[in-house]
């Protein structure tokens, strides 16, 4: 791991402060934050991974959840000889984290915890993730890697329009940028008008936010009569929600920038698990720190390379809360082939879906069960409902739209229009209270939604199709 004061070594970094040089393939491929780690030969990488995996198994044996498994299976670090032995290790799920909430997976004394992040808690029980000082340093470093791979240089100014708080996006990227040595404007999410004022006054070259917020900024500019293509931003790193290649093109076109994708999740560390280089042919996984498997979510067997499967991540070097084989539920593809940028890591495609029914709407996690919970609070509305998600593709208006269709029943029907409207409003309010999301509620005729013999299909997601 590079020391904090270490600077990227490439000469081209220092010389490419002109407006076009930063992300031409030639210069960017030379911009590697940690060349030793990122361009390591495959055999060396594997040796490092095995060594780290063995040490990890030893460390997590203090976690009762894992210890019980090891005892049952008669497992220990001595049984880890090759990477194939990873498959002997137990899976960890979000439910496991919840059952041992808040600190059941902690492997260090509480006194060594330096920061705590967590999921938004919209699904009921929040999950907290603890970091030691070492974890925070690693995290900053991992973010620095993908930021630099996507063109960030020390002389740049970056506007961070991610939420700062329990959400890992804001602070994760913040310290990554600081590690690179660039200037940070911690604008945080929201208040689009102010974001634009800051942009105009401070000329940041880089924008960091969710992909949908990038479009909101473009919209906001147009509303103020500003051409979004004239904004100072030259490139952006976007994450926090799945997005498509179409959306990338739209962002690039509307803001006249280059848009880079990165991936991470709070349970594992936050952003920094992987990110794109200038080649943009998949996200480089920081696989010296994360072992990523791609499994069939039903059989839990590996899928062939290049096929879609659920990502399962083992955190090789996390100190406070290392996890074995964390089931992310995110569906993606893995690629091993070489990348012209020189990095030797495993690469992953963008996230194409979920193996559970979780939806990410405008950056907020949503489970259909939350909608059901909201409907339970409004008497008589639970029986039949349908969740529809769309991302209308018209330029300038690409926000996710959530519609919840609810069948009217005898007990919810009134001949009074005001009561029907109040019913609709109440459902929308309950959804907002539980899921933190504004939904359009539509009351529909009884028996108008499809009936299912087996498991009901409650979600129609029309956002897919471009990946």
């Amino acid at each position: 791991m590079p020391t904090p004061e270490r600077m990227p070594s490439s000469q081209s970094l220092q010389s490419s402060s002109s407006s076009q040089g930063a992300f031409s393939s030639q210069t960017a491929s030379a911009s590697i934050w940690d060349p030793v780690a990122e361009t390591q030969a495959a055999e060396q990488r594997q040796a490092l991974q095995i060594e780290r995996l063995r040490a990890l198994v030893e460390r997590v044996a203090t976690v009762p959840f894992y210890r019980a498994y090891f005892e049952r299976q008669d497992l220990g670090p001595q049984r880890i000889r090759s990477l194939d032995d990873l498959r002997r290790l137990p899976f960890t799920t979000k439910d496991d984290l919840r059952r041992h909430h808040p600190f059941g997976f902690l492997t260090v004394p509480r006194a060594e915890v330096a920061r705590i992040h967590g999921s938004s808690g919209t699904t009921g029980t929040p999950t907290f993730v603890a970091y030691t000082k070492g974890d925070l340093a690693l995290w900053a470093d991992l973010c620095a890697r993908f930021l630099v791979a996507g063109g960030l240089q020390p002389q740049h100014t970056v506007q961070v329009a991610f939420g700062y708080g329990l959400f890992t996006g804001g602070f994760g990227l913040h310290y990554g940028i600081e590690r690179v040595g660039a200037a940070i404007i911690p604008a945080a999410a929201g208040n689009t008008r102010r974001q634009l004022t800051i942009m105009r006054d401070l000329d940041p070259e880089v924008l960091i936010c969710t992909p949908s917020y990038a479009l909101t900024i473009a919209d906001g500019a147009r509303e103020l009569g500003i051409d979004p293509r004239g904004l100072p931003i030259r490139f952006g790193h976007f994450g926090g929600e799945p997005w498509t290649e179409d959306l990338r093109l739209e962002i690039e076109q509307q803001l006249d920038i280059q848009a880079f994708n990165n991936y991470g999740l709070s349970e594992v560390i936050g952003p920094g698990v992987s990110g794109e280089c200038a080649e943009r042919n998949g996200m480089h996984i920081q696989d010296d720190h994360f072992l990523v498997e791609c499994l069939d979510p039903d059989t839990l067997e590996p899928v062939p390379e290049g096929e879609p499967g659920e990502l399962v991540i083992t955190t090789l070097t996390r100190e406070a809360m290392p996890l074995l084989r964390y089931r992310t539920r995110d569906i993606a593809r893995l690629y091993r082939g070489p990348c012209p940028c020189g990095r030797t890591s495993l690469r992953m495609s963008r996230i194409s879906g979920r193996s559970d029914d979780m939806l990410i709407i405008r950056g907020v996690n949503l489970f259909p069960s939350q909608i059901e919970e909201a409907l339970l609070r409004v008497e008589g509305t639970t029986a039949h409902y349908l969740i529809e998600v769309e991302r209308p593709g018209t330029p300038g208006r690409s926000m996710d739209e959530l519609t919840v269709k609810v069948e009217i029943q005898r007990e919810t029907f009134s001949d009074r229009m005001d009561r029907m409207q109040a019913l609709r409003d109440r459902i929308a309010q309950e959804i907002h209270a539980i899921a933190g999301i504004r939904a359009k509620v539509e009351l529909v005729e009884p028996r108008s939604l499809e009936r299912f013999v087996g498991k009901a299909k409650r979600v129609i997601d029309r956002r897919e199709g471009s990946d």
Binding site: F413, D415, M417, L443
Partner: protein, 145 residues
């Protein structure tokens, strides 16, 4: 003095009105009058029919959600100010109207107002005190025949 009104929920889409009306027609039920309240997304169809129990059965069987509500029918002079006089009476007595609709009458010079009151009994009393009588279903039905 009170009438049963059938109400049913409809989505506001082309053609949604046809099916329930056809079902009622197929059962040989004549509609005395109706009103449709709508928003951009859904509507409420309100019907006054002679055989409301039968009509409701037909709608239930057809998969609609229909309910029965007590409404009050008042006949007024079919001339400017006819409605306003009744409304004034109700207003002065503090009677709350949920909604209303009107139709021209079978009787020359008369119009009929259908009211949905929060408290129909109190409303009928107020109207009677002022010499305004609510029609019962026989009167409506006879007139229709």
């Amino acid at each position: 003095m009170k009438l049963q009104q059938l109400s049913l929920f409809l989505e506001n889409r082309p053609g949604r009105l046809d099916a329930p009306l056809e079902a009622i027609a197929a059962a040989g039920i004549n509609i005395l009058t109706l009103s449709l309240a709508d928003t951009a997304q859904f509507g409420i169809l309100r019907l006054i029919v002679r055989d409301w129990d039968k009509a409701r059965q037909v709608l239930d069987d057809g998969g609609w959600v229909a309910n029965l509500t007590e409404v009050v029918a008042v006949d007024v002079e079919d001339r400017p100010g006819g409605l306003a006089e009744v409304l004034k009476v109700l207003d002065q007595a503090g009677v709350n109207i949920e909604y209303m609709y009107a139709f021209s009458s079978y009787r020359p010079g008369k119009a009929i107002l259908i009211f949905r009151f929060e408290d129909p009994d109190q409303a009928i009393k107020v109207l009677l005190d002022q010499g305004i009588r609510a029609l019962d279903s026989d009167e409506l039905i006879h007139a229709d025949a």
